[in-house]
Amino acid sequence: MTVKVDEKKCIGCGLCESICPNVFTLKDGKSKVKDKEGDKRFNCAKEAAESCPVSAISIS
């Protein structure tokens, strides 16, 4: 399973980082995926994806 952030969509609001800090981090004002696999922390990544105000996070 892979977590991706579409940088063009991301507005850098920091919500995903606060919901799931193990997977997301803000760098240069945009969200970056620290851990593409997401592995055990997948649940919070999913929650972050659902909460993203601009639907920039995809999980496949």
């Binding site: 063009k8 969509k9 991301c10 507005i11 850098g12 919500l15 606060s18 004002g29 945009k30």
Partner: protein, 342 residues
Amino acid sequence: MKEAMLWKKAENKIDIQCYLCSRRCKIGPNQLGFCLVRKNLNGKLFSLNYGKLISINVDPIEKKPLFHFLPGSDALSISSAGCNFKCSYCCNWQISQIYRNGMKKIVGENYEPEQIVNMAKERNCKSISYTYTEPTIFFEFCHDTGIIAKKQKIFNTFVTNGYATPEAVKLSKKFLDAATVDFKGNADPDFYRKEAAVPDIKPIFDCLLELKRNKIHIEVTDLTVPKIGDNQKSFKNLVKFIVDNLGPETPFHILRFYPAYRLTNLEDTPVKLLEKEADIAKKEGLKFVYIGNVAMHEMENTFCPNCKNIVIERLGFSIRKINLDKKNRCKFCGEKIPIVRD
């Protein structure tokens, strides 16, 4: 639609950085901010909802709540749809979350700032309140209306979640006289993250400090939500922050939660819990503590901190009696009570 205030080119020179609210969204070409009402069009940020009002009412100013500012007066209360928060328990969710719930076009009726000021005068309102949703959602309209109102000696007040940036507060200084800053869930960062989609609450404290620095009258509220937003430690920290930074004379309103929007599985906040919190707030040094959203509660009155007599007696949002002389001194003991009256 109108060009927005408080934005700049982002460092990557493609996006726009909005700094009206503390989300500080970086907005790409043709994209919207978190609020869904500010858009990057051809490299400029536009406020899509300028002058589009969704509600206009005459309210007693006590409803805001503002208890120490022009008591007994009416406030023309206006708002535009939308919000920069996403509270699961919002009592105005039909208008605040309308864009998030799928509305594609901007809603509201067109008004000019002058019309609003004239309406306030016609209806004998001493103030205009930017409320119901969040004033930063329609900041440019608040700004333009506020400046005209001020010239005509009408006061301006915000009811806000406190997520405006210090830059926005500085700009508001030109017209803003008072602000009710609403905390949610006892200022517990976890509650904010889970129930309001707010990553960090430090900006709210920064906003309060900036309001104070600019000598804007402040009243603070806190909505205690049973089970998920009733953390006593964060409540105490909030009270301490107010005492230390805004002063013990800052009016503080503890508000009862009632089930709304998506949080309908919880009960109303027990009144006993609110009373317990009010005791803590008083013990920590706050002189004017109120309990709100509870009908006929004794703590909707203003008590003299010196002699404990009632100096302003309220029934709901109406004033029954004011026991203050012209210089705002308690009629029973002479204690000066900090109340703004014109």
